[in-house]
């Protein structure tokens, strides 16, 4: 049993890319967790997609030994979509290493994450990283941390996770500053279910933080909220290689397996107790994560629907962060309506399905969850899919989710940021200047943000803006369903809910895009955007005039026939709608509106 005063539990938190995972690498290496040969860059980012994109998606925990102490390190993601991963990790710790890039300074997620950490009463150890960079300004950043966050940064460690400067100081600071956990080994078992995932060899692996009591191999445990009991068959920790232990004592972080087959059986935030000697009260648990962005996923080749179903189910087995239910679309056939934590999350799940499961997918426009109050007291409904919007005559009012967004941006781009937020129906709450940068807070409707806001933000500030948001609640809005008609038939997968004031511009843009994307046919094709029966924008694709092989003699017959047969293959990638063939690219590209202002 590790004595409490020899344990330190801490998370590494920071804005995206400020070097959390790289710092974790150095800490692991310095404490001997992995040899030089076993090391790779961002070793904890073990998913392919994490490696490729250079970002952390899932938090990871590692146990380190340092000068007679046991340190449990939790590396967290920086991106706002995965904020829930940060919050769970924070709940399992007593402190945090706040990493700030010496060249970039404090950014939106620096603030968001540090505030969360403060809410947990954490001891925060600031680390100014990347001091090896020529553009590093550690003293300026030190002042920024004090001024913007209000933390004492006089003892902030100056470090380079790249070159290894400051690593020992960081480890020493963790031991000296972060308080040891509290707990009672003799009390009934109480452990927090921090996370769970599926491992092909071990089955479901559960990450736990023991609060009271001792968690042992062979113990009969009970999940207090789920009410189920299980037999613990493995106890251990990650170094980051798996090390099997016989028990986990109070204050310790580690993993267990208990012959559980599906992640769905384990509720993150649940309390684990001894089935024979249960604790009286459960731990407070976590706020439930909710999907904020929804979209439809359809196989390009309708024959792949079963494959898609299997793949989504499998992916969901080890990633409970997204939701799915079956959806049928007149345009796209059978598919799934899926819920995500944000746009990056959506993109990542879609990409994993495409690559790990070899599927070609059509993704419909991302949409938020609307609340619709029906007339005649017929109640309320939640709308995840614009296609399901009731007839306007049945709608009393529509409510949409709003967020509070914090944007950090160099002064020179402030004007364009304000314009962008204003165009997106934003309400300015706050504007402050720190150094050469502005911090601006806006209230914005979420549906304006899922509609390419982030891309626009990046492009107008050349990547110099950082952005964080949280939902603040629902507000009534003058929202309408805009349908897109191709050859006079509504294409359900292209319909969207928009604010009345933006409908016309968006409708026009959509029609223009589709005009470019749908190939000419043997007849002319009208494309219209409409609200109810009223057409608000239109374009026409002229009939094709020429598609003919000028020369064709004896030698060309075979070639021509093969070409025709190849064309047949290509047609699988098209959806026929109102006798119009719509290439799947049109669905994808029409929804990426690009540089529309």
């Amino acid at each position: 049993m590790t004595p409490l005063d020899k344990i330190r539990n801490f998370s590494i938190i920071a804005h995206i890319d400020h070097g959390k995972s790289t710092l974790a690498d150095r800490l692991i290496q310095r404490t001997g967790g992995l040899s030089e040969r076993e090391m790779s860059a961002q070793v904890l980012d073990n998913m392919d997609i994490e490696k490729e994109r250079g970002i952390t998606i899932k938090a990871q925990t590692v146990r380190l030994d340092w000068k007679g102490h046991v340190l449990n390190l939790m590396d967290t993601p920086g991106h706002v979509d995965f904020a829930y991963e940060v919050s769970r990790s924070l709940a399992a710790c007593e402190g945090a290493l706040l990493v700030v890039d010496a060249a970039q300074g404090v950014e939106a997620q620096t603030l968001a994450n540090v505030y969360q950490s403060i809410e947990h009463d954490h001891e925060i150890v600031p680390v100014i990283n990347k001091i090896d960079l020529p553009a590093a300004e550690p003293e300026k950043v030190r002042a920024e941390i004090e001024e913007v966050i209000g933390l004492d940064a006089s003892e902030a460690v100056l470090a380079s996770a790249k070159t290894g400067i400051g690593i020992d100081e960081i480890l020493d600071a963790v031991v000296a500053k972060i308080p040891p956990p509290k707990g009672d080994a003799t009390a009934p078992l109480k452990a927090m279910l921090v996370d769970s995932w599926y491992d092909p060899y071990l089955g479901v692996v559960i990450l736990v933080r023991v609060v009271d009591g001792v968690l042992k191999k062979g113990q009969q445990i009970k999940f207090m909220n789920a009410g189920t009991t299980h037999l613990v068959d493995r106890v251990g920790c990650f170094r980051p290689k798996i090390e099997q232990l016989t028990e986990l004592s109070p204050g310790e972080i580690g993993f267990i397996t208990a012959q559980i087959k599906e992640v769905a059986q384990t509720m993150v935030g649940d309390t684990i107790t001894d089935a024979r000697k249960p604790a009286a009260e459960a731990l407070p648990g976590f706020k439930e994560v909710q999907s904020v962005v929804f979209c439809g996923l359809f196989p390009v080749d309708a024959n792949d629907f079963e494959k898609l179903r299997e793949s989504i189910s499998k992916l969901r087995l080890n990633d409970a962060s997204f939701t799915f239910e079956m959806e049928t679309s007149a345009a796209l056939g059978f598919g799934f309506r899926c819920g995500f934590l944000g746009l990056l999350h959506l993109e990542i799940i879609q990409e994993r399905l495409t690559r790990e499961y070899d599927l070609d997918l059509i993704t419909t426009a991302p949409s938020v969850v609307y609340r619709i109050v029906l007339t005649h007291g017929a109640g309320e409904l939640e709308l995840h899919n614009p296609a399901d919007m009731p007839d306007p005559s049945r709608i009393e009012s529509i409510y949409e989710p709003w967020i509070e967004a914090t944007i950090y941006v160099p002064d020179e781009y402030l004007g364009s940021i304000l314009k962008l937020c204003q165009d997106r129906r934003g309400i300015q709450k706050n504007l402050t200047y720190v150094g050469g940068r502005a911090q601006v807070t806006y209230e914005l409707p979420l549906n304006e943000v899922v509609f390419d806001f982030y891309d626009r933000l990046k492009s107008i500030t050349r990547g110099y803006a950082s952005f964080d948001y949280h939902q603040t609640g629902y507000r009534e809005g003058d929202l309408v369903k805009m349908s897109i008609l191709v050859n006079n038939e509504p294409v359900d997968a292209l319909s969207m809910i928009v604010h009345r004031s933006a409908a016309e511009a968006r409708g026009r843009h959509m029609c223009e895009r589709l005009k470019d994307l749908i190939p000419r046919h043997l007849f002319k094709i009208p494309i219209q955007a409409a609200i109810g029966g009223k057409v608000i924008a239109r374009e026409t694709i002229a009939a094709l005039r020429k598609d003919v092989t000028a020369k064709c003699y004896g030698g060309d017959i075979t070639r021509k026939r093969k070409l025709l047969e190849k064309q047949k293959e290509g047609k699988k990638r098209m959806r026929e709608y109102g006798s119009v063939q719509i290439p799947q690219e049109a669905f994808i590209a029409a929804l990426r509106m690009g540089d529309e202002g």
Binding site: L522, F523, L544, R545, K546, D547, V548, T549, A550, K551, C552, Y553, G554, G555, I557, T558, K560, R561, L564, E565, Q567, K568, K571, S579
Partner: protein, 381 residues
């Protein structure tokens, strides 16, 4: 099937050599320093004999010497091949023997000998009546030389046709109209009028990819096509196929065999053939073909049995090109009447692009330019 067997057979003979390669050409043509004429003659005769043995008892309706540049063949070789064909098969009384010729003075000098060898129709690769355009097309001859060759050809052969390429980059409607009127004025009974197409693998394709060549706008090209058909028809040379115009009775019988999906024997490098329900293909590279014939007595690289649906598709693809339309008996003969998508046919008819007759499907004037699309829809892809 029987009806088709009693139809005259067509014979295609490929001569793969050219003096230089044209930038728009994707045919099986090659530039070689010296050609062993005796060896080539012997090999062509052997390849012919081999094919003839597999197609016994047929009447030969046409012979076509294509290339490459068959006007570079020694006339004696041409004579020997015609003579041999006459021994293998029975010639139809009105047999058409065509040779593709370059309109150069060197080649024009051989026209008399070629006519004496039995060639009764030439197809001249004039390509343009504009020196600049000829240069752009990489042709070695000039307009004057070409027209002299045309005059010589008209003196020696009963039937003469020539090719023109139009819808060139930058070509105006007026310029083409004038060129076409002039072409018609030479009084040949047949004209092949092709729009320039950029074929994959040609030098033009590379230039187009690099942005150094901008093909004509397809809608403008469509206007030119309509104008061409109108003018030629008014002058008594209506189109009988997408790009081919003739005075009635002057159509290329040989090419009609392809479009009507009759049997044709193909010999020489890269030549294709249809022998009953089999597709035949000769070795493409001249040296490989020659080696194959010398080694095994024939140049066949492969034979592909075509199933009913495939044959029907081929018949459709070819037949629709003709003004007379697709003979549905051809499709039925293949044993795959269902190869035509009836719904698509009805839809295309409603759009005014085709006409359905009891025995034929005819692409209407409005549909001719959309033929590839129409064919694709009709075969249900």
């Amino acid at each position: 099937m029987d009806a088709i067997i009693t139809e005259p057979l067509a014979l295609y003979i490929h001569w793969p050599f050219c003096v230089s390669k044209c930038p728009y050409c994707d045919f099986n043509s090659h530039v070689r320093e010296g050609v062993d004429q005796a060896a080539w003659r012997a090999a062509l005769l052997a390849d012919l004999a081999h094919e003839a043995a597999l197609l016994p008892g047929r009447t030969l309706g046409s012979i076509f010497f294509g290339g490459g540049t068959p006007s570079l063949m020694p006339p004696a070789t041409v004579a020997a091949l015609i003579e041999a064909a006459g021994r293998h098969w029975r010639f139809a009384g009105d047999i058409e023997i065509t040779l593709e010729a370059n309109p150069s003075s060197v080649e024009a000098a051989r026209f008399a000998d070629l006519a004496a060898a039995g060639v009764n129709r030439v197809s001249l690769g004039l390509q343009s009546l504009n020196d600049e355009a000829l240069h752009f097309l990489g042709r070695a001859h000039g307009v004057e030389e070409g027209l002299a060759a045309l005059a010589t050809a008209q003196r020696h052969f009963g039937r003469v046709s020539f090719d023109l390429i139009y819808a060139l980059p930058g070509q105006s409607g007026e310029a083409w109209e004038a060129e076409l009127e002039r072409a018609i004025g030479f009084g040949t009974g047949h004209l092949s009028l092709y729009q320039l197409t950029i074929e994959p693998g040609t030098r033009f394709a590379t230039l187009a990819r690099e942005g150094k060549l901008t093909p004509a706008d397809p809608d403008f090209a469509a206007d030119l096509f309509e104008l061409t058909r109108e003018r030629a028809a008014a002058a008594g040379l209506p189109a009988y196929e997408i790009s081919n115009h003739a005075r009635p009775g002057e159509e290329s019988r040989h090419n009609l065999t392809y479009w009507r999906y009759g049997d044709y024997a193909g010999i020489g490098p890269g030549a294709h053939g249809r022998r009953g329900s089999r597709a035949t293909l000769r070795h493409r590279k001249p040296e490989n073909w020659l080696g194959a014939v010398q080694g095994s007595g024939h140049g066949i690289a492969g034979e592909d049995p075509l199933d009913a649906v495939t044959q029907a598709r081929e018949a459709i693809l070819m037949g629709l090109r003709l003004n007379e339309g697709l003979d549905l008996a051809r499709v039925r003969a293949a044993g795959a009447g269902e190869a035509i998508d009836a719904d698509a046919a009805a839809r295309l008819e409603r759009l005014g692009l085709i006409r359905r007759e009891p025995a034929r499907i005819v692409v209407r004037e409005a549909g001719m330019l959309l033929l590839d699309r129409i064919a694709a829809e009709l075969v249900g892809v």
